[in-house]
């Protein structure tokens, strides 16, 4: 059974919701992102989402855009990102690791080689933001073969036949984008999302994780009432950026993540 599935079953048994934390690989530096990533599982993160930096992160807001650029300016690339994930996997055997990024660097690396590499590094799931179900034929069959989940995004406007299209072939969990916008911007309308998640749950057994616009323990608390897991990205990335020259940065992030986890 995949680590993602085991984790959700365990959460279910404990009657708990999951916390997904996002950090961009190589931001603000390779060493700092390594330090933070290594500390996340013991601070309360149930799932680790690692961002693969891209020059043109079209679906991301200012915080994650800036993190991508910082990483690239520091010399980060896909090969180094995979190396970082390998270290993370070696240190944390049970925590599901999900890679998130855009299609071009993967396509350039080679889809087949990419699936081989991520499989070997111990990655459990992939979120390829700009690869909709209609276009994922080059990578999904190989991912399925390797036991790697392709995690699909859905939004408040994913309804009707579009919802069926997105659910067809989805695995791992569903990444529910709670706002119409980019990462880290405005806040979500809980009642509407709750109703929509009910519709989704009537069509699939997959767990639903909610992300985009979730920043504070209060946000986490509210969202965890309606979802199986809550994703926090921009707020962590922003905090890392603000304290990148601070020797206490890792400790600050640990405290932030602990506070988020306690709010679940």
């Amino acid at each position: 059974m995949s680590r993602i599935k085991i984790k959700f079953e365990q959460l279910n048994k404990e009657g708990r919701k999951g916390l997904v934390t996002f950090v961009t690989a190589g931001d603000p530096s390779l060493q700092q992102s390594r330090d933070v990533l290594m500390a996340l599982p013991n601070s309360g993160a149930d799932f680790i989402e690692v961002g693969m930096p891209f020059s043109d992160p079209m679906a991301d807001g200012p915080a994650i855009q800036a993190s991508s650029l910082r990483a690239l300016e520091g010399g980060m690339n896909l090969t180094k990102t995979l190396e970082l994930v390998r270290e993370l996997r070696a240190a944390h055997d049970k925590t599901p690791i999900i890679l998130m990024g855009y299609y071009n660097p993967i396509y350039r690396y080679g889809c087949e080689k990419f699936i081989e590499s991520v499989s070997e590094c111990g990655v459990d799931g992939l979120i390829i933001v700009d690869l909709p179900p209609e276009e994922d034929y080059e990578i999904r069959p190989m991912a399925v073969e390797a036991g790697i989940d392709i995690i699909r995004l859905m939004t408040p406007t994913t309804v009707g036949t579009r919802l069926d299209t997105v659910l067809d072939g989805a695995s791992g969990f569903l990444y529910y984008v709670s706002i119409t916008g980019v990462t880290g911007t405005k806040s979500a309308n809980i009642d509407e999302i709750s109703k929509h998640i009910d519709v989704i749950k009537s069509k699939t057994d997959l767990p639903v994780a909610v992300g985009f616009g979730i920043k504070t323990p209060e946000d986490v608390s509210a969202m965890s009432k309606i979802a199986d897991a809550v994703i926090v990205g921009s707020a962590i990335v922003q905090n890392m950026a603000e304290h990148k020259n601070d020797t206490e940065m890792k400790a600050l992030i640990e405290n932030q993540v602990k506070a988020l986890a306690q709010a679940l």
Binding site: A59, P62, Q65, Y107, P132, R162, V182
Partner: protein
């Protein structure tokens, strides 16, 4: 103009693309986040309904005639022909359009689609500001609020166009994210669109982006190629032998070429911006110096490094300064239907001056690239060879750039 909607039998035709998912062979498609997908599908539906509606085209062609000034003339460039001493050279005079370039053709078409969709607000991206000005113009005409995203660096470099857009009532938002250029302006426009789905239409400035934009912009720009067919039959009683047009994203070239794709005797030359040379790292030649990739919702050729990070384009012409190219061009390149060549900054600058002196027409730096290739090509061809170049924009906007390059001062 011929407003007939249903084309001839398009089975086995190069003009029958894209497929129903927006693919031109391997290229095109809809590589967008799920956040954008419902919008794109909505645009596709509205566009396809419009395309099949004679009333839509009646309105388009009436405004194309009376507001843009279509058809633009097909001009026999006698002095150029004599000077080059080979092929008979014609210019398609789209620089005479209202706003001074071909961009207004797809702006008019798209704003009519936006109206049909009931979207009261328009956003656009712009590099040099030509597409921004054309968008602001049609927004003024239809009294619709307009927001233009423009790289912060371009806002500084293209002050006259920024002023024009503001006069026309548009809001110009300088984009500082990423590298602050055209590709970032496009990223920012897409982000803004996702966050404002209910009331906003994104009026894309070239034959690029996710399906249906490459198809839709092409079909509006094809008005040029269709006119050339009719005008050439009137003037010469036959089709031209070759067509030449410059390529950034590829809208003017696609508009000229597309109606001729099935005429196998018509040769076509797409001229990319070679900057300092395609063997340097300062050019905008995605086909001659880039690789297959995915950006801005499409699979096509892009300038990128080994890690798949998109790199900056460079051209003396801001309108060609884009690190990608429309997906239909990528396909036509692979099957070798169109010859894609490149012209450097210096060659374009020389062609700019040559065309100005020979014909008394100051061309934009974009079609100066096309003319540089005409200067290479025409002398090698026989006198009965008929060549048509798309003179897709006038050069008033470029006089500051040219003066600086020539070491002259404008007060």
């Amino acid at each position: 103009m011929n407003t007939k909607i249903k084309q001839d039998n398009l089975v086995n035709s190069l003009r029958s693309m894209p497929d129903d998912q927006g693919h031109f062979g391997l290229y095109g498609g809809r590589y967008v986040a799920e956040t954008l997908m419902p919008l794109i599908l909505e645009v596709e539906k509205a566009w396809h309904e419009a395309r099949d509606d004679q009333k839509f085209w009646d309105e388009f062609h009436a405004l194309a005639r009376d507001y843009i000034g279509r058809p633009s003339p097909l001009y026999y460039a006698e002095a150029t022909t004599k000077h080059l001493g080979g092929a008979k050279v014609y210019f398609k005079r789209d620089e005479l359009n209202h706003t001074g370039a071909h961009k207004i053709n797809h702006c008019l078409g798209q704003i009519l689609v936006a109206k049909r969709m009931g979207k009261p607000r328009i956003i656009a991206e712009t590099g040099a500001g030509q597409h921004g000005v054309a968008t602001a113009t049609v927004c003024a005409l239809f009294d619709m609020p307009c927001t233009v995203f423009m790289g912060a660096e371009d806002v500084e470099r293209q002050k006259p166009n920024v002023f024009r857009m503001k006069l026309l009532g548009a809001e110009v938002i300088p984009v500082t994210s990423g590298s602050g250029t055209l590709k970032d302006a496009m990223n920012e426009a897409l982000r803004h669109w996702v966050a404002n789905v209910d009331d906003t239409y994104y009026l894309i400035g070239t034959v690029a982006g996710p399906h249906p934009f490459p198809e839709m912009v092409r079909d509006f720009q094809s008005v040029m190629g269709k006119e050339v067919r009719e005008q050439m039959m009137e003037k010469e009683g036959r089709l031209p032998d070759s067509l030449v047009a410059c390529i950034g994203g590829g809208s003017n070239s696609m508009g000229l070429f597309h109606p001729f794709l099935d005429d196998t005797d018509v040769q076509m030359f797409g001229v990319e911006a070679g900057g300092f040379g395609v063997d340097t790292d300062k050019h905008a030649a995605s086909l001659n110096g880039g690789d297959v990739g995915i950006l801005h919702g499409m699979r096509s050729y892009f300038l990128q490094n080994d890690d798949g990070q998109i790199t900056e384009a460079h051209s003396i012409s801001a309108g060609l300064d884009y690190p990608g190219i429309g997906p239909e061009h990528a396909y036509l390149h692979d099957i070798e239907r169109i010859n894609y060549v490149s012209v450097t900054d210096d060659e374009a600058l020389e062609a700019f001056q040559m065309l100005t002196k020979l014909e008394g027409i100051i061309p934009a730096l974009e079609p100066s690239h096309a003319f540089a290739h005409v200067m290479r090509l025409a002398p090698t061809l026989p006198k009965e060879h008929i060549l048509v170049m798309n003179l897709c924009g006038r050069g008033d906007k470029d006089i500051f750039t040219v003066a600086e390059k020539l070491g002259m001062e404008i007060e």
